[in-house]
Amino acid sequence: MGCISIDNVKFDQESIRAIEDIKQKKEFAQALNVAMPLGAMANIFLGNRVPEVGVSLAMTDFEVLAKAMKSMPAIQRKVIRDIATMQAIFHMGKESLFWRGIANGCEIH
């Protein structure tokens, strides 16, 4: 899977809880803050509140996020991938795509 883009993804309570969970990971916040301190991904993972309105994410957002995750220790990266994978599996449509993008990064197999 290459980098994806998503228009107008909205998050339900389960997704919001998972985002809040990821936000607690200090290394993730630091890595994302260095890679992309502003923008849609920063709004989701670095902002005070997860946006309740639809969010659009470009391929570059996922690309930068993937790079930020790559700079994290593998153990912590796996925790985030685990959380994202579970969300992708148990969601449908755009929300599922969003979480796949987080879990898989921009890896092409």
Partner: protein, 177 residues
């Protein structure tokens, strides 16, 4: 290969530094040396687990749909089953390195407490941070166990499912999004 070589050199360096420190400080610094030793063991266990995670991830393959022929599951059952079995395959691939890491982190924390020191290196690896999301994995496993035993047995016998695989790509192979 190069990374492994560099890591091996690092491990030797860490161990030598630890032993060297013990000898240099003498018996008066037993507590400090014991604490340093647990930190070294923690760092080594962390490095070994990180290497293993990367190795297991790089070895992932997409399982072709033909492998699952004759197995009739609903989309939800496929998702739960492949998620749970994929997770188990990754655990098996890590071959005890995660357990060793958790033990080393606990020993380092407990030893730090004993010597009134902050276990700085393990702060990001607390039980809560490593396993805070496991309730969801457990719920998935409960869902998986609701799939008829005969189907689960057939799935679990598939050799390709015993090793880490690309979950989403395999689901796509099965026509599930």
């Amino acid at each position: 290969m190069v990374a492994k070589f560099i890591n091996s050199i690092l491990l030797v360096f860490i161990m030598s530094a630890s032993i060297g420190a013990c000898v240099a400080k003498g018996p008066g610094s037993l507590g400090a040396d014991a604490h340093a030793l647990t930190l070294n063991k923690f760092e080594i266990a962390k490095m070994q687990l990180e290497e293993k995670i990367e190795k297991c991830r790089k070895g992932k393959v997409t399982i072709p749909k033909e492998v699952f022929e004759g197995l009739n599951l609903t989309d939800k059952e496929w998702k739960v089953a492949l998620f749970v079995l994929g997770d188990k395959a990754e655990d098996a691939c890590e071959a005890g390195k995660r357990g060793a890491f958790v033990v080393a982190a606990s020993v380092y924390r407990a030893t730090s407490r004993h010597y009134h020191r902050e276990p700085v290196a393990a702060i990001s690896y607390s039980e809560d941070k490593l396993f805070g999301h496991y309730w969801k994995k457990m719920e998935s496993e409960v869902d998986y166990l609701k799939i008829p035993k005969e189907k689960r047995n057939r799935l679990e016998l598939i050799p390709q499912i015993q090793k880490p695989f690309h979950l989403f790509e395999t689901l796509t192979e099965l026509g599930i999004n």
